[in-house]
């Protein structure tokens, strides 16, 4: 029973990884690519690694440590890239409708 | 297919060495030359590891009792390469610090201009 659950969890994780990579390939903008490449890939890697830990029960705690480290470090790096690309002047794509950071700058300049 | 299966690691290692050598020979920028040196270093490490590889072998680490020592790959090139990687990053840092000093002294990174500035 346990290997079957592990295979199902791992397969769903790989599907998430593939969809995240497809989002990085297809999206029109740095920020959209960042969103697709971080959220989707974090969930996919977490499910994949924990699934391998379920398939081999002796490895479970080590795989859990790896998954928790990915869960910590991946948002840090993506947040740093997003902030850096905003500060280095990368524009949003022309089809985007709302820009909260520009609104916030206008609000701060009006104070 | 058998040729590819036997020689794919050597192809990759020689490709990396040749690309690094081409970068060192062709480019004028000093940082680009150091990037080429780094790529060549990686290629040489890959070549040394690929010499000691045994097909269907396993890692030379006794972690569990059912691992047989007759199937292990050669551990000596791995120990050598492990030292070579650390020495490589030290050499790279030294080269980069020399490049920073050159830029502060001459104001440029182009090798031809630095050569023309010689008295």
């Amino acid at each position: 029973m346990l290997p079957l659950i592990g295979k199902i969890v791992t397969s769903s994780g790989v599907v998430f990884l593939l969809l995240g990579s497809l989002g990085v390939f297809r999206m029109p903008d740095v920020y959209n690519r960042l969103q697709a490449g971080t959220k989707c890939t974090t969930l996919g890697a977490f499910l994949t690694i924990v699934g391998v830990g379920i398939m081999e029960p002796a490895w479970f705690w080590k795989t859990l440590v790896i998954a928790v480290f990915i869960l910590i470090t991946n948002p840090i790096s993506s947040h740093a890239i997003g902030r850096a690309s905003k500060k280095s002047g990368v524009e949003l794509c022309d089809r985007s409708v709302v820009d909260k950071s520009r609104d916030f700058e206008e609000y701060e300049s009006n104070l | 297919m058998s040729f590819l299966q036997n020689n794919i690691y050597y192809i990759g290692a020689f490709g990396l060495i040749m690309i690094g050598l081409l970068t060192v020979l062709v480019k004028h920028n000093l940082i680009k030359v150091i990037i080429g040196l780094s790529i060549m270093d990686t290629g040489i490490n890959l070549f040394l590891i690929a010499i000691g590889y045994l097909r269907n072998g396993t890692a030379p680490i006794f972690s569990s009792p059912e691992v047989e020592s007759i199937l292990m790959v050669d551990p000596v090139p791995q120990a050598l390469v492990l030292t070579a990687i650390v020495i490589g990053v030290a050499v790279l840092a030294l080269a980069l610090s020399l490049a920073i000093r050159l830029y502060k002294h001459f104001g440029t990174l182009d090798l031809h201009k630095i050569k023309e500035l010689k008295w």
Binding site: - | Y9, V81, I85, V89, Y103
Partner: protein, 79 residues
Amino acid sequence: MIVIVTLVVALMLSAAVSALFFKDLLSAVIASCLVSLFASILFLFLQAPDVAMAEASIGAALITAVFMIALRRTKRYEE
């Protein structure tokens, strides 16, 4: 298995060639980080996990940081 190894070797060589051709030195440094990452995967295929660990930590993290410090002190674009 041989297909995956061939794919990794081809991606590594193409990343090295792109490191040769970029005019932006930051992109060239990122490409060299990518070469180191694929070399680490190849070291794992060659049954050398300790070398793969050292290559991953030094080649992808430390070399990139050292290059970034050097690029901050000098110029970013190659003319």
